[in-house]
């Protein structure tokens, strides 16, 4: 995008990250690379490199083979298994940790609707006034912590 001052790598990564999280929090939608480039006023190829750097640093997870953000954790870009209602909007998490993380990032009351990984029965959790006001069930991590990022989608 000509006419804009080029940012250094650190400043660009910060601008990209902040835009993605503010946009996701305010709209419940994770922006696409061209939208991020327009918002931060930087060329798309540079913004795509920034998105990939931040993915390599485990800030978020990309859709395979693209610079599209699949999950700006805790916010998932597409409807997934964990639905979170907060601030009058519907957000999605890729796991129960992220679903509860949405309430934490938003600093908001939230209702999480999950399903039992085994029997698919609905389980509802509620965050109220910064605490878990309703929670049932048991959380299971299949992968040891040292291997979480080997295959984050499975984790």
């Amino acid at each position: 995008m000509s006419g804009h001052t080029a940012l250094g790598i650190e400043a660009l990564d910060q601008a990209v990250r902040l835009h993605v999280y503010r946009h996701a929090a305010e709209t419940a939608r994770v922006p696409k690379p061209d939208e991020i480039a327009a918002a931060v006023g930087q060329p798309l190829p540079e913004v795509e490199k920034s998105i990939q750097r931040l993915a390599a640093d485990h800030v978020w997870v990309l859709a395979p083979g693209t610079a599209n953000i699949w999950a700006a954790n805790p916010f998932c870009a597409v409807p997934f298994n964990f639905r979170v209602s907060a601030r009058g909007r519907t957000y999605w998490g890729i796991c129960i940790w992220d679903a509860l993380g949405i309430a934490a990032t938003l600093n908001s009351d939230a209702t999480v609707v999950a399903r039992c990984g085994d029997c698919d029965e609905e389980i509802v959790l509620e965050v109220r006034d910064g605490a878990l006001a309703r929670g049932e069930g048991v959380v299971h991590f299949a992968v040891p912590a040292s291997q979480w990022w080997d295959n984050i989608a499975f984790t």
Binding site: N73, L100, G101, A104, A114, F141, A142, V143, P144
Partner: protein, 72 residues
Amino acid sequence: MLLFRSEEHIDRWCAFRELPRGGIMSPEQCWLLAHAWYADKASPDWRRRTREEAEAVLAGIGLTEPFWSLHA
């Protein structure tokens, strides 16, 4: 990481997939983990935690067994 109705449901899920049982935590622990991990994620001051800091977060909610170690 998934949520299950009970440990019996976890064991059935693991058996069906021929996987060993992993690590478990309560929804309350998961909320405390989520809050510690994500409350500052949208902040300008956020930075990725070091491995030691991440392990301290896990230990802070009572997850100290080897399963929760971030050292390979």
